[in-house]
Symmetry: C2
Subunit: 389 residues, 2 copies
């Protein structure tokens, strides 16, 4: 089976490639190093060492005994993507090649437009390349649980059966995203749903929770680290909390901290993405999977990081609630469904405290690097202050 990973140089993509290598699949990868460049622009860097792509690919082939055929380019460039499709002839394509940071999209108008254009055009290009080059390809597209927002009703997986004024229908679950980035994922989901109606493309649209963790099983052995970001733009909640503890900064829940979100470990993210490949939708199906392990409040995560950090190091980390840079409810109902992946065989791999312990241990190993980045960890991108021209 031929598998193409768009965004293979990224946090998810690099770990996924290692898992799929152990499955004996033929791997093709694409990246334009957008994340590497943009992370540097905000004065940050990956805490775990990320060699050049050439070196990465060489080490990968050395460890796994099979390589990744790599194409450097931008998925938002249709000519490039078509040429990759024609050469790779993928049976499965993972689309992980979008601008992935909510704060980045909120820096200002330039970043808002860049995120809109990069993300939407890449997905439009992908569905056209699929229908023209291989209409049977299974598209696995990374979306986010953030598409749904925090409605006062249960969240379903993509669609819901609704009764309204005495009539019934099955309709897309209403989305209420919280940043330009999150909205691009909603727009993508809508565009994918429509592409499926047009051409019966086989699509899995993954509504992923917030991912935490430094490693997966394969990385424990290969030591071919995936990137790990801890700054306020590119680092996500739990990963950043662990880094705050390690460098001696306060752990910073935003606002009241009673925001609840679905979370999952990197190990589980990769397992679920592999299940999506191994258990594909029916031909012509557009399938939405809510991909997370459990949901937690931000306060609970902050407390747990503090507790694990104390157990591990004997040191105390402070928790400091800071002004919420985002525009979001800070205390709300939250009950999203996540049955489908369990039905397909997903078994959560770890437990939160053990996973956090592992993150902190890895960060302590790279403590110097964490400290170098101390100045970019605390929030400074305020949604409402997003700059104009």
């Amino acid at each position: 089976m031929r598998v193409l990973i768009l965004g293979v140089d990224g946090y998810i993509g690099w770990a996924l490639a290692q898992r799929l290598a152990t499955r004996g699949l033929d791997l093709y990868g694409v990246d334009n190093f957008f994340t590497r460049r943009r992370v540097k622009e905000v004065g940050s860097d990956s805490v775990l060492p990320v060699p050049s792509i050439g070196r990465r690919l060489q080490l990968f082939r050395g460890f796994y005994g099979r390589g990744i055929k790599f194409f450097r380019g931008n998925v938002a460039d249709p000519e490039f993507l078509y040429s990759v499709f024609k050469e790779a002839k993928p049976d499965v394509v993972y689309h992980l090649a979008e601008q992935r940071s909510a704060p980045y999209s909120m820096i200002g108008l330039k970043q808002a437009n860049e995120t809109m254009v990069t993300n939407l055009v890449s997905t439009i290009n992908l569905v056209y390349a699929a229908k023209d080059v291989n209409p049977n390809v299974h598209i696995i597209k990374l979306g986010t649980m953030g598409e749904y927002g925090t409605p006062n009703i249960d969240i379903t997986e993509g669609f819901f059966d609704i009764e309204f004024r005495g009539r019934k229908d099955t309709l897309p679950f209403p989305r209420s995203a919280g940043s330009w980035y999150h909205w691009t994922k909603v727009h993508d989901s809508n565009n994918l749903m429509f592409a499926n109606r047009l051409w019966k493309l086989k699509i899995t649209d993954v509504m992923q929770g917030v991912v935490y963790g430094t490693e997966i099983k394969e990385i424990e052995k290969s030591r071919l680290f995936t990137r790990f970001d801890i700054d306020e733009v590119w680092g996500t909640a739990l990963n950043r909390f662990a880094a705050q503890a390690v460098v001696g900064l306060p752990i910073t829940p935003y606002g009241k901290g009673e925001q609840k979100r679905g979370f999952l470990s990197l190990e589980d993210s990769i397992s679920c993405l592999t299940i999506a490949l191994e258990k594909p939708p029916k031909d012509g199906e557009y399938r939405v999977l809510n991909q997370f392990d459990q949901y937690y409040s931000v306060n609970y995560l902050a407390d747990t990081v503090r507790e694990v950090f104390r157990e591990l190091t004997g040191k105390d980390a402070r928790i400091k609630h800071v002004e919420n840079p985002r525009v979001e409810a800070e205390d709300h109902y939250y009950n999203p469904d996540h049955k489908k992946l369990y039905e397909l065989g997903y078994k959560p791999s770890g437990e939160l405290k053990k996973d956090i312990k592992k993150i902190i241990e890895d960060l302590l190993e790279y403590e110097e690097k964490c400290k170098e980045l101390k100045s970019v960890i605390m929030p400074r991108t305020y949604w409402r202050k997003s700059s104009g021209l």
Copy 2:
């Protein structure tokens, strides 16, 4: 009051400017002549004569005794839009400056991406310019009833009160658009809703039905025609049916022809857009108005055009159902709310048959031009055949 019309050279924009001129408002206009150029690209042209913008503006000033301060440029260019905002300092801005053709967006990948980028970026630029230059400006944005699709339940105006699994919330009404173009309007609505949450911008998001007609009251006097398109890409259903009758082509409902859509005359469109200005939303409100007069099936409209054409000319027009180039339900439930504009004072101005008679009369006056365009009237843009690279 200072009013800025983005897309002032278009079908709606040019008529709206004439109505607002009679209201004694200070008018500012923007256009980049995208529609003029793209209409020519498909081998078509406006049936009613449209002079150069310079001549148009001169005649406008001559007739109304007040001019439109005009800026040539692209709303998708943020620097241009900011400079216009700084000079015009609008109290109200109409955003009619998007790519407006569903078939155009479905020609192929290039047009799909062009429509996505042009439309989304123009609206993002607009909300940033508003919040930076005049956060009190009232944004009146043209969307489409097509955002909702044809669900099996009643359609509300933007939001609906929902009960699901025993809990309640008010959520955005789920959208199910039927072309890339229509989806850009959904994405815009979502982005506008979010901009309102960010910066409390005052926004009216107009879900407009299909507009028909050649004139409004002011144009009857001024003879400053707005453009009128009859080709398969840029002409809409009823307008095109009238042209088909006039040039001796069959009237072509797509498929079964039982598709129902909300329609309104150009006169009513302009009245409603003026009401939106005169009865603004509250400060900080994001308001959605469903803007149409009545809903009809395509078959009913075809029959009515045929009937009026016979009464007027004594000649018979054939009706021929053709293969549906679109991807849409051809027989479905349809019951959209449209109460809010009536509550604000909207009174439909005409009756369908009289309006159709007027269109046919105008087209007969320009019969030669209609006949020149005969070869581009019949459908040839097939949704499922949208071309790739």
